[in-house]
């Protein structure tokens, strides 16, 4: 049954997975060219000053910042909008599988694809930055990017939850709350703002459970 759910989610996500992978390559190439541009045209000393002093590197990898966010949102939309259109979720809820298993496996499968894209991006980023900068800078850049990757995970879970919620009033309320929460993941503009990383991880870890609540409300016929 899990294989069948994987099959369904793959049908919905396959094109997005390929397109996002392509975008990841393009955004990494852009980041590499930007790093190269600053090194080539501004000189090593000035570049070093900007990289260390003004966290310029984080600006050069801006696509890496938004890509997990876009991926999380696109995956949630592609997976759950077709399910909620014309209340198609009723088909899934009638499948001979427990609701808990159905919801968690659907979200879990989507998240595995998202995680694969994130890991691809993370290693790509490591490769691009380590070609130019020493280990200390690479480590700072990677650590600083972790909240962005967590932000992508958070938007995926929250968007899935909002789409699966049957009431538009609740959707708007959750949407506002999500906006407030997600912006927290993207506040940092300098290095070393990742000390509260554990709090971000904890928040993201409990998010899949919200899906259960939306599923319960749909099943009850809540409006």
């Amino acid at each position: 049954m899990l294989k069948a759910i994987l099959y369904k989610e793959w049908i919905k996500l396959r094109w997005a997975v390929i397109v996002i992978a392509g975008l990841t390559v393009l955004s990494l190439a852009y980041s590499a060219s930007m790093i190269n541009y600053y090194v080539e045209f501004q000189g090593a000393f000035q570049n070093w000053m900007y990289v260390i002093g003004k966290s310029l590197l984080l600006k050069n990898i801006v696509f890496v910042k938004v890509l997990p966010l876009i991926t999380g949102l696109v995956f949630a939309l592609l997976q759950f909008v077709p399910e909620m259109t014309n209340k198609r979720m009723r088909l899934s809820y009638h499948l001979p599988i427990s609701e808990k298993k159905l919801l968690l496996s659907s979200v879990g499968i989507g998240y595995i694809f998202l995680l694969a894209e994130i890991i691809f991006l993370f290693f790509g980023l490591w490769l691009v930055v380590s070609l130019t900068y020493p280990t200390e800078i690479v480590s700072k850049a990677l650590m600083s990017s972790i909240p962005w990757f967590l932000g992508g995970s958070a938007i995926y879970f929250m968007a899935s939850f909002i789409i699966l919620e049957p009431s538009w009033t609740y959707r708007i309320i959750y949407g506002i709350m999500t906006y407030g929460l997600i912006t927290k993941f993207y506040e940092a503009n300098t290095y070393d703002q990742y000390q509260t990383l554990w709090a971000y991880i904890l928040i993201v870890a409990v998010m899949p459970l919200t899906i259960m609540f939306a599923g319960y409300r749909f099943r009850r016929g809540s409006k």
Binding site: M1, A4, R90, L91, R220
Partner: protein, 295 residues
């Protein structure tokens, strides 16, 4: 007798609005039931409760012995649902949807599905979203047949179908359930079609069940009479003999479960002259209107 569906004192409110009031209903195994009701009579609410997508405010609804809003996966395996509008995973193709569903049902009978698809004449990679409503209805019906369920709940199966596809749907359904001891619970707004296929009729009135009886018995026992008498227009009312009465100028149409002799006798006791009382034959649609009224 074994009951496939059993509703006990089913009551449901939408906010303050009472939709179902103390509904009691038993559906026996191996028969085809047609549930009829005018708009707003709680038909959809009843179906939603039966399908497990609405929890009743009070009362109990058992489907195959389990509460409808918490059916176990094993019981869901035995129930084939056709949702209003022939709902399907329209992002899948004919082949993909069969592959997907077949993994959930151990007794999957793919031949039923592929027989129907062969008649449809579409390629296996044809997306469901690019099909007409009639074609989609065949896909959905094929999936339900392949599932081989004990109970089929078909909600407004005729919605969006032209006469050809409606006839096709009924033909396949009749052929499928024949001699298989399946129970079918269906709703439709096309009563002429329902009449062709059902064994029993369930008629919903305002917040309650008006009638549940075999179609044959309803046709035999429910009568329509007309007579002309300008004096009783607006005076004659429904009572223990007269189920419903309608007036058009001086023409009175009354509906009753009593015979012509009994109705005449009753009218006489009410002091009403009805020398020209004549029985008019009815089909199910006319009987339905007779029971529920035109308005």
């Amino acid at each position: 007798m074994e009951h496939v569906i059993e509703c006990r004192n089913l009551t449901h409110y939408y906010g303050d609005k009472l939709v179902l009031n103390d509904l009691n209903l038993k559906v026996e195994k191996g028969r085809i039931f047609g549930i009829l009701g005018k708009n707003g009579m709680g038909k959809t609410t009843t179906i939603n409760i039966l399908m497990g997508f609405l929890r009743p405010t009070s009362g109990q609804c058992l489907v195959l012995g389990e509460e409808s809003h918490k059916l176990s996966p094993l019981t869901r395996q035995k129930i084939g649902l056709l949702h209003e509008g022939h709902l399907a995973y329209d992002f899948m193709t004919i082949k993909q949807v069969e592959h997907f569903y077949s993994r959930f049902f151990p007794g999957w009978k793919a031949e039923y599905y592929w027989d129907l698809m062969k008649k449809l004449g579409l390629k296996h990679n044809h997306k469901i979203r690019n099909m007409s409503c009639g074609q989609r209805s065949q896909v959905v019906l094929g999936l339900i047949f392949a599932q081989d369920p004990e109970l089929l709940i078909l909600d407004d199966y005729s919605m969006g179908l032209d006469p050809g596809y409606r006839a096709l749907f009924i033909d396949y359904l009749q052929e499928y359930v024949r001699d298989k001891n399946k129970t079918v619970f269906l709703t439709s707004h096309i009563i002429q079609d329902v009449e062709k296929v059902v064994d029993d009729t369930i008629i919903m009135g305002f917040q309650k069940l008006l009638l549940k009886m075999p179609l044959k018995k309803l046709k035999e026992d429910f009568h329509c009479f007309t007579f002309r008498n300008a004096n009783v227009v607006g005076v004659l009312k429904a009572d223990h003999v007269i189920t419903n009465v309608e007036f058009y100028n001086d023409k009175i149409t009354l509906y009753s479960f009593k015979t012509k002799t009994e109705v005449l006798k009753h009218l006489k006791t009410l002091g009403i002259t009805a020398d020209d009382l004549a029985e008019v034959s009815m089909n199910l649609e006319e009987a339905f209107i007779g029971l529920t009224g035109k308005y």
